[in-house]
Symmetry: C2
């Protein structure tokens, strides 16, 4: 779906800003200490409510340096801190993930792929629970391959779907298959789409996002170390995905949607497309072009957060992006 | 299996040191340029044969800092470079992976989980192909949760198995299920076991390694953000795994075994156990204890490489660890 122009939309009902985070595990509240191993944080060595109790937006992305750049950008957008202020990595005790904070915004890296982001999300959700956070919104800002879009286009995910185009996340729990819904927050999608239309800086669409377990064979690339299909097979698969509403492909959205939804956290996925997969497999644009593309989800989400906070400060305004 | 004492084994037949690497993709040889995007390397901007043509051992592990420490350690073991010499990160143009080289040894980080290591392996196998490497051995050195072992024990993987204890790696290719064997090199297992017995520095066993897509629910932990089973369910699952020969659990071995096997690369997996999962879920040992545990696979594999190179220099000696 191409975005409509901004400014004439129905205002959204005001979000319940105190919606509490719910873990789906009664064991956690009973633990004497909880070691968040992959963050190098713990409930006994860190005062998590003091460190994180004011968090309202959690933004996650694959690359540590991109998430460091994002916190600098969003802090400047929100007028926080001094110009050029450095934000230290809160997880400096480990190199598994990096975490940065500026005011109500937390920025966390998650590496690549479903298992890597899932470890991070388990510990992030527990961190928010221990910190007694409420009214938190989670947004993944990432990169992806597009289908039938100009490179540099941004996709706001309507549904995260699997490699068979189903809005499901399947995992094995104690060796048994468990399927979870990958529902995302429809209101967030609309609000982000309005922000994109208002910004009007780059092409943005709302569409389905296919989440795969592999970057090469799993996404029909012809340039991996292993490949047993033809260009025609690939084109048929990608065109079938397009017909099912898929506009981009990445590797984390389904578990992100499933876990945030299970814990009552409104969640959105905003990814830029680095190439059009119908035209090729290699990411060959010059470095400066790719670097600018990667800033686009940051600019959209930074704008959304700024408008959201302005809306929260002035409750008469109910639409976040006008 | 507990290890026998060293010194009385049958010598191994000498490995074919010039076994060439085979990619399972005829497209690669025909490409004018191949951009190894997640390494920030390319066949047109880098002279890969000059940079990597002499590589004989590729060691991979999750953490960039651990793989940097490993290259320092193995360089000292092999008497390469000056004492305290720094080895630069060859992939400094990206923060997706880190890569270090000392003589014939390449050390590469792969992040956490099957998708993350799979991206790295596709590009690593193509790198070795473009560099015209031959006679390469691949070893994953990692961390894991043990089952029924003292924390700090090292497991040399006999078979990588899935969450249902099958020696299979399943993936979706163009939306269709493909199952690959997770066969590892039996001779490497024996040679590494002999080296461990010879070193005699820490408990080491040969056993099956379960490879899961999740660290919390996927491994039966009770301390994730989501958990819908009991301590008893968990114990039953882990005991069934133990009965199937599983001695440790990690998140990368199956695809590592499958991809190396498909490309004709002898491969082994050597992981230390950070805890005994029958006794708990949290990794709570002091930092210095965990740091020493994590050096154990490095010491074993460093010893193996040193002996292998000594054996190659003296072809009359056919058993690598004596």
């Amino acid at each position: 779906m191409a975005l409509p122009g901004g400014g004439t939309e129905e205002p959204e009902p005001h979000r319940d800003s105190e919606r509490p985070l719910q873990l789906c595990n009664p064991n956690i509240a009973a633990m004497k200490e909880d070691i968040l191993y992959h963050f190098s944080l713990s409930t006994s060595s860190h005062d998590l409510p003091a460190m994180f109790g004011d968090v309202k937006f959690v933004c996650v992305g694959g690359s540590p340096s991109r998430m460091s750049a994002f916190i600098q950008y969003v802090a400047a957008e929100l007028g926080l801190g001094r110009p050029g202020e450095e934000y230290p990595n809160i997880c400096a005790g480990t190199d598994r993930y990096a975490m940065f904070k500026a005011g109500p915004v937390l920025s966390v890296s998650h590496g690549m792929g479903i298992p890597s982001i899932a470890i991070m999300l388990h510990e992030l959700l527990k961190l928010l629970f221990h910190a007694r956070c409420s009214g938190v919104t989670a947004i993944r800002i990432g990169t992806s391959g597009g289908i039938g879009l100009e490179p540099g286009s941004v996709v706001i995910t309507r549904q995260a779907v699997d490699a068979c185009f189903r809005p499901e996340f399947e995992q094995l729990v104690l060796g048994r298959r468990v399927v979870r819904s990958t529902e995302l927050d429809a209101r967030l999608v609309r609000e982000l789409a309005r922000c994109a239309a208002h910004l009007d800086e780059f092409p943005t669409v709302v569409g389905n996002t296919m989440c795969t377990l592999d970057f090469y064979e799993g996404q029909g690339r012809l340039d991996g170390a292993l490949c047993s299909y033809t260009e025609q097979d690939k084109q048929e698969y990608l065109r079938a995905a397009h017909a099912a509403g898929v506009r981009n492909i990445e590797m984390e959205s389904s578990v992100f949607a499933a876990m945030c939804s299970a814990c009552g956290l409104p969640a959105a996925v905003v990814c830029v497309t680095l190439l059009d997969r119908l035209r090729g497999d290699q990411i060959g644009s010059p470095h400066d072009v790719l670097a600018e593309y990667q800033q686009r989800p940051q600019r959209l989400v930074g704008h959304f957060i700024k408008k959201s906070l302005a809306g929260a400060a002035a409750p008469a305004s109910r639409s976040r992006c006008q």
